[in-house]
Amino acid sequence: MKEYTEKIREIAKRLLNDGTVDMVIGFRKGTLPMMNQPHIATCTDSADELMWDSNCGLNLANYVTDRKEKIGIVAKGCDSRNLVTHVIENKIKRDQLYIIGIPCSGMIDHHKITAMFDTDITSVKESGESITISGNDFSKKLIKQDVLCENCAACTHRNPVEYDELVADLVEEQTDVDPYESVTEIESMDAEEKWNYFEDLISPCIRCYACRNACPLCYCPTCFVDESTPQWVGKSQDPIDVRTFHLLRAFHCAGRCTDCGACERVCPMGIKIREFTKKLNKDCLELYGWEAGLSLDERPPLDTFKTDDPDEFIK
C-alpha cells in the first residue's frame, strides 16, 4: 500500500502544480486505527497527507456532488462507478474530473475486526495479504481476505471502470463469487419470515441518516424524509416511519447502487442496510442485464425504456 500512497501523492502534486486541477480529493490518516478521513488537498503540503490502505472504504464520489471546480479524485472500482453515475445524472461533468484510478484488493471490515477483540485495538498494520492487529497486550495476524467487508469479498469490479491515470497495474477481477448469496436466502423465505427478518434488521435504527448521507446517490436537495410541506414521513421512532425511510431510500437507489458498502460501513448501529439495495441490484441484473456505473453511454434502466422490456405494459 506504500507504493499506492507514494504514487497518489506524486500524481496529486503534479496535478496541483501544473494547474490541471484545483484540488485533489482522497484520504488522509485518521486518529483511530482502521479509520481514515476523506481529505481535500489544495497545495503540496496537504497533498503530502494523502495516503492509501485497506481502510479507505468510504465512497469519495459523495464529495464531488455539484462542485464547480476541476477536481482530481482518487477512485477505486466502486467510487469510479459512482462517478460515472454522477456524470450520467448531471451531478458533475466528466471534464471537471481527473480520476486517479485505484486497482483495489478490497477494504477491511472495521466492525468485524473490532468485534473480534475484547480490548482496544491500538494498531493495524498491513503487509501484503496479511493484517497484524495489536493492542496493549496482544498481537494477532489475520489474513486480509478473511476480514474483508462483505461487499468487497463479493466484488466483481475491483478495477476502476473510468480513469485518467492508474496508480498501479490492474488487479485480477474475482469471478467465483456470488454477490447475491444472502438475497437468494431471503427470497426463499415466506412472507412472514421476510417481515420478521427485516423488522429485526432495522430495529436498532436511530434515524441518524448516516447511511443516506454517506451514499453518493442520496444527493436530493431535500430528502423525502425531510420534506415538511407536505410531510411524507413522521420523524419519531414509529416503526412505520423507520420502515418507510429504509424501503423508500432503497427503491430510490434501484439501478443506481454500486454496492460500495458505504451505508453499512458508516452505520453506528451495525445495521446490514445492503440487504435492501442488494435485492434491487439483483433484480436489475436479472430483468435488465444491468449493473450500475459501468458505462457513460447508457442510462440506468429505471429512467429509460427499451422495446425488449420484460414487462408487457410498455409495449
Binding site: C208, A210, D226, K235, G270
Partner: protein, 357 residues
C-alpha cells in the same frame, strides 16, 4: 457517605429485590454491543461492558416523547385543545452508569431545569431516577474523561458508585437517594468496611489508564468571534457527511424538535431529538437557514460544546469525554483534535490562508 462491600450473591439478590420498588435498567448485550434495557425478573445487568453503544440519556430523555394529544373533530368540544399527557414517572434505577455518562445529567440539567424554564418531562424522569454508577477499572483509548471534569471513579451525578474488584462490589453510597436504593436492595444494614485504601489503589490505576487528554484551559478566554471566524472550520468539516450520529450518541446533546402528527381526527404533539448536523436544524419558516453550509453546522456543534456552554455556565465544557462520537463518527471527525485546535488557536499567529472546501 457510606462504604460497604457486597459479594456476588448479595449483589444478585439485591438487584432482584430492588426490582419490586424500581424499574431497574442495566446494560445488556444485544447483537454485538451493549445497550441499557429494563431488566426483567432474574435478568442481571451484564457488567462486562466497557461502555454502552448509546448513552443512558434516552431513559430520562427519550428520542421521541409524546407531550400532548389533541382532536381535530369539529363536532367535539375539545376540538383543537392541546391536552397534556399524564406525566407521572415511577421510580427508576439505572445500574452500571459509567462516571462520564453520570456527569452528563448535571450538565443537561443546566438546560432543562432553570429558574426561567422548567422542563417537567425531563425533571420528573430525572428526579424519579437513582443513578447507580460503575467505576471504570481501565479506560478505552478514546476516553478523555479526566480532561472533561470527571474521571474513571468520578462521582458527580451519581447516587451510588460501584467499584468492582474481582467478585466483590465495593459500594459507595453517596446521596439519600442512594441510601434508599441500598435499603430496598437489602444492603442497608451492611456494616461499613474499611476498603478506602483498596479503592484508592484501583482509582489510581484506573486514572493512569486514561491515555487520551485534551486541553480546555484557554477556551474561556478566547473571543467568541475569533474562534467563530477561525480558518480551520472548512477544512475540518470537509469530511463530515452531516449525519446525526455524533449528536445522537452524545450524552450531553439536548436539542429537540417539536412535531405534530395527526392520524384521522386525533393527533399527538411530541418532541424528537434534533441534531445541529441536519440541514433542517433551525431552518426558519421563511426558508432562510442561518447555517446553510456544512462547515457552519459542524462549527455550531463544537462552538456550542466548547465555547458557548463554557461561557454561559462557567462549569467546564459540555462534553464528558466518553469518546462515543470519536468511535462512531463514520468519517473520523475527532472532538479531541478540534478541541485542541480551538484551545490553541491564536489569531495573531494564524494569518495563514484557510484551506477552502
Amino acid at each position: 457517605m457510606k462504604l460497604i462491600k457486597i459479594d456476588q450473591q448479595n449483589w444478585n439478590t439485591g438487584i432482584e429485590k430492588a426490582k419490586s420498588a424500581y424499574r431497574v435498567f442495566g446494560p445488556v448485550k444485544e447483537k454485538n454491543d451493549y445497550e441499557f434495557k429494563v431488566l426483567g425478573t432474574n435478568e442481571m445487568p451484564d457488567l462486562n461492558f466497557r461502555n454502552t453503544r448509546l448513552s443512558p440519556k434516552s431513559i430520562i430523555y427519550p428520542q421521541s416523547q409524546v407531550m400532548f394529544t389533541y382532536s381535530i373533530d369539529e363536532t367535539k368540544d375539545d376540538c383543537r385543545i392541546m391536552k397534556e399527557v399524564e406525566n407521572v414517572t415511577s421510580p427508576m434505577a439505572i445500574i452500571g452508569v459509567r462516571p462520564c455518562d453520570a456527569l452528563s445529567f448535571p450538565i443537561v440539567r443546566r438546560n432543562f431545569d432553570t429558574p426561567e424554564y422548567q422542563d417537567t418531562y425531563w425533571i420528573k424522569a430525572y428526579e424519579a431516577t437513582t443513578f447507580v454508577g460503575l467505576a471504570c477499572n481501565s479506560a478505552c483509548d478514546t476516553c478523555f474523561c479526566t480532561s472533561a471534569g470527571t474521571g474513571p471513579f468520578g462521582e458527580e451525578g451519581l447516587d451510588v458508585l460501584i467499584i468492582k474488584d474481582g467478585d466483590d462490589f465495593y459500594t459507595k453510597i453517596i446521596t439519600p437517594k442512594g441510601e434508599a436504593f441500598a435499603e430496598s436492595a437489602g444492603w442497608g444494614k451492611k456494616e461499613q468496611t474499611d476498603i478506602t485504601a483498596k479503592i484508592k489503589e484501583l482509582k489510581t490505576a484506573a486514572e493512569a489508564s486514561v491515555s487520551s487528554t485534551v486541553s480546555t484551559d484557554k477556551l474561556k478566554n478566547k473571543t467568541i468571534l475569533d474562534l467563530y471566524d477561525a480558518p480551520f472550520w472548512e477544512e475540518e468539516a470537509f469530511a463530515c457527511i452531516n449525519c446525526g450520529t455524533c449528536t445522537y450518541v452524545c450524552p450531553t446533546c439536548w436539542c429537540f424538535d417539536v412535531q405534530d402528527e395527526t392520524h384521522g381526527k386525533s393527533g399527538i404533539r411530541m418532541r424528537n431529538w434534533d441534531s445541529c448536523m441536519f440541514p433542517l436544524f433551525t431552518h426558519h419558516a421563511s426558508g432562510h437557514n442561518p447555517r446553510n453550509n456544512k462547515y457552519e453546522r459542524v462549527r455550531q456543534r463544537f462552538m456550542h460544546k466548547l465555547k458557548y456552554y463554557v461561557d454561559k455556565y462557567d462549569s467546564g465544557i459540555q462534553c464528558v469525554g466518553c469518546g462515543r462520537c470519536i468511535r462512531l463518527c463514520p468519517v473520523n471527525i475527532d472532538i479531541r483534535k478540534i478541541c485542541d485546535k480551538m484551545n490553541s488557536f491564536d489569531t495573531e499567529s494564524c494569518k495563514c490562508e484557510a484551506t477552502s472546501s
